[in-house]
């Protein structure tokens, strides 16, 4: 069932890649593939975080603002406040984890809806970043080249000439493997999925659902913070008023496209990665093959909707066939 859920989206990604490659000879150039992989990695990391929250049946709208807070906070601490690298990174990590903890506790202890809690977060964290930076652009200038190579670096691969793996892909790979292992192979991962399917049932079967929910939000904010750090290392500057703006929608779309149900209980890490890759490939396709960049969101929206509709129709046909088959079996005299 899980494979079937991600099969449609995988085929859609393949179709978009084939179409783009046939329309633009430069799509498969190593330069373009590297860029595409790097963007997919950056968006993939934040999407995995969101997926954790979505499988519990929750939502995190604050991702873009956490990206902004971390993405502006790091260069601000390093360049204008003169903090040392370890303490600045530590501060960003603690703040990100603290935000998740706060969300989780407000949702589980006070019973406030995740939408409301994280909506307030969406407004607060960007506001805070704009406050401490005085609404000014922050960046690394010419410095911190070593640190920046975490996002901009390329790792030469043996046997492949001219192509190098963008450094963020390594992070994505490690995070994705850990996340997939956690979700599918550990008891806590099963708890998360169970909690998403029915919180009450999970609680009655002895799962500490509160703790699991908090964990999901902490993971989400931590990955958003880490993503924010990588985004600013990649771009070199961040403007608090627009850094990470609407990125929560890219992350949520990637997770949902990848088969995570907004009702909770369902989701695979593999699907989320494919979803993130599809979003970035579509954007890349529009610049490479058309001159209608202003139609970008219209095209992305249409392709995604088509994908979701096709997925739903396939599922229904499958169900109908199953029903017909079982009816036939019933009507055949034994």
């Amino acid at each position: 069932m899980q494979l079937k859920k991600t099969l449609g989206i995988t085929l859609l990604l393949l179709a978009v890649c084939l179409l783009t490659a046939s329309l633009s000879e430069n799509f498969l150039s190593s330069y373009n593939l590297e860029n595409l992989l790097r963007r997919t990695a950056l968006f993939g990391i934040i999407s995995i975080g969101v997926a954790f929250v979505i499988v519990t049946g929750g939502i995190d709208l604050s991702v873009g603002s956490v990206i902004c807070l971390a993405g502006c906070g790091l260069p601000w601490l390093l360049t204008t406040q003169g903090w040392s690298l370890p303490s600045a990174l530590m501060a960003v990590a603690l703040v990100s984890a603290g935000i998740g903890l706060l969300h989780g506790l407000l949702i589980t202890k006070l019973g406030i809806q995740p939408f409301v809690v994280t909506l307030c977060g969406l407004m607060m964290y960007r506001g805070i970043a704009r406050g401490f930076t005085g609404d000014q652009t922050v960046g690394f200038g010419d410095g911190f080249k070593g640190l920046r190579s975490l996002a901009t670096g390329r790792i030469e691969l043996p046997f492949i000439d001219g192509f190098a793996l963008p450094a963020p892909c390594v992070f994505l790979l490690v995070i994705a493997l850990l996340a997939a292992f956690f979700l599918n192979r550990t008891i806590y991962g099963r708890y998360l999925l169970a909690l998403g399917r029915s919180e009450e049932a999970a609680r009655y079967s002895g799962i500490n659902t509160g703790r699991m929910t908090v964990l999901a939000y902490v993971l989400c904010s931590c990955l958003a913070g880490f993503g924010g750090v990588l985004f600013v290392l990649d771009v070199n500057i961040a403007q608090p008023s627009d850094c990470g703006n609407f990125y929560e929608l890219y992350a949520i779309s990637a997770a949902v496209l990848g088969g995570c149900s907004l009702r909770g209980g369902v989701g695979t890490i593999y699907g989320v990665l494919i979803g993130a890759a599809l979003m970035q490939t579509l954007r890349n396709m529009i610049v490479l093959t058309t001159r209608h960049q202003h139609m970008e969101f219209a095209i992305i929206g249409a392709v995604l909707l088509a994908g979701v509709v096709a997925d739903e129709l396939i599922k229904r046909r499958h169900l109908r066939r199953k029903a017909v088959r079982s009816l036939r079996e019933e009507s055949t005299p034994a």
């Binding site: 430069n26 709208l61 771009v235």
Partner: protein, 335 residues
């Protein structure tokens, strides 16, 4: 998402109406300078607004909208509710903002800066002629690429008059066409003329990440691109960023606009051929000066053509050091 926007609007309204003018009640006239976005460019203007306030005995303030045209409208509405004596605004979408601009002009002294709204009831416009500044940018492109070649244009947005004119001026300047600011080349059409091939115009809506991806995708699509023009302040630094990562600094000619530090440093190092700078400090300063006169009832400050021209300048390697030193002095960052 509607709910998100609604909530955002409510919260930011509270935030704006919460910040009271510092000297309210002091009897000083209140003048507000409204920008079109948050950008270092506008900090220079804000410095001019700040310096001119005490000089002309008025209370002066700068407000920067963060979420585009709706946000700008809300800010102006709130200012009118609160009551101010003069507003200088850089309209984001002048053709469609006449309602709010005329409402403002009816209740206070309204002038425009940086981008004009000629069909509204604004008293005058302070700024430069963006079409001419664009042509100056185009000249720099011709200098950098005497043999011609493929050129891509990067810009934040194309809706506002100043960016439309700036882009058209740049195109006409590159191609050496006659002066005609009413011409319009749609961004989706490749223009091949006079040895140049202008392959397109990419917008990013102020998202720096997107601005960077646009440059990367251009390098993918046109590996032989000869020149890149960045028409909003942050575009040239993003171009440099991508070229540095692709080891193509110096190979692709970069022509900028505005005076971002990275752009100026690039001119010093030779990775940027040149840039065209406005004088945002004077937009701010002059706005306060003119508005304070208008408030006094002195309408003689309005020129016949309703435009106070603050001309643009070309900055190349030979004058970048002097310009940068001057700039630091006005911003007070030279210490």
């Amino acid at each position: 998402m509607k709910l998100v926007h609604l909530a955002l609007a409510v919260l930011s309204t509270v935030a704006v109406s919460g910040c009271k003018p510092s000297a309210s009640g002091s009897g000083k006239k209140k003048i507000v300078f409204v920008t079109n976005a948050v950008d270092p460019f506008w900090n220079n203007a804000a410095a001019g607004v700040r310096d001119a306030g005490p000089k002309f005995g008025v209370d002066s303030e700068t407000i920067m909208p963060t979420e585009g045209v709706a946000d700008q409208k809300r800010i102006i509405e709130d200012l009118l509710t609160k009551g101010v004596d003069g507003i200088s605004v850089s309209p984001i979408d002048p053709a469609n903002q006449n309602d709010i601009l005329n409402a403002a002009a009816g209740r206070t002294k309204l002038i425009t800066n940086d981008s004009d709204a000629p069909t509204s009831n604004r008293l005058l416009y302070i700024g430069m002629d963006n079409y001419k500044a664009g042509r100056m940018t185009g000249e720099l492109v011709r200098e950098a690429l005497p043999q011609g070649g493929s050129v891509m244009i990067f810009i934040g947005r194309m809706e506002q008059d100043n960016s439309k004119d700036r882009r058209q001026g740049t195109i006409d300047g590159i191609l050496g066409r006659s002066e005609d600011s009413t011409r319009f080349d749609p961004p989706e059409i490749v223009i091949e003329e006079a040895g140049f091939r202008i392959v397109g115009t990419l917008t990013d809506n102020f998202d720096r990440g997107k601005a960077k991806y646009n440059v990367e995708d251009t390098l993918s699509k046109y590996p032989d691109i000869a020149g890149m023009v960045g028409l909003f302040g942050y575009n040239p630094p993003m171009i440099l960023e991508v070229l540095a990562q692709a080891n193509k600094l110096g190979q692709v000619k970069v022509i900028g606009f505005d005076e971002n530090e990275a752009t100026l440093a690039g001119i010093q190092e030779g990775t940027v051929h040149g840039t065209v700078v406005q004088n945002p400090y004077m937009y701010g300063y002059k706005s306060v000066e003119v508005l304070s006169e208008l408030i006094k009832g002195n309408n003689s400050v309005i020129p016949a053509n309703k435009m106070i021209d603050i001309p643009a300048r070309q900055i190349r390697k030979e004058n970048v050091d002097t310009f940068w030193a001057e700039l630091k002095k006005t911003l007070g960052t030279d210490k």
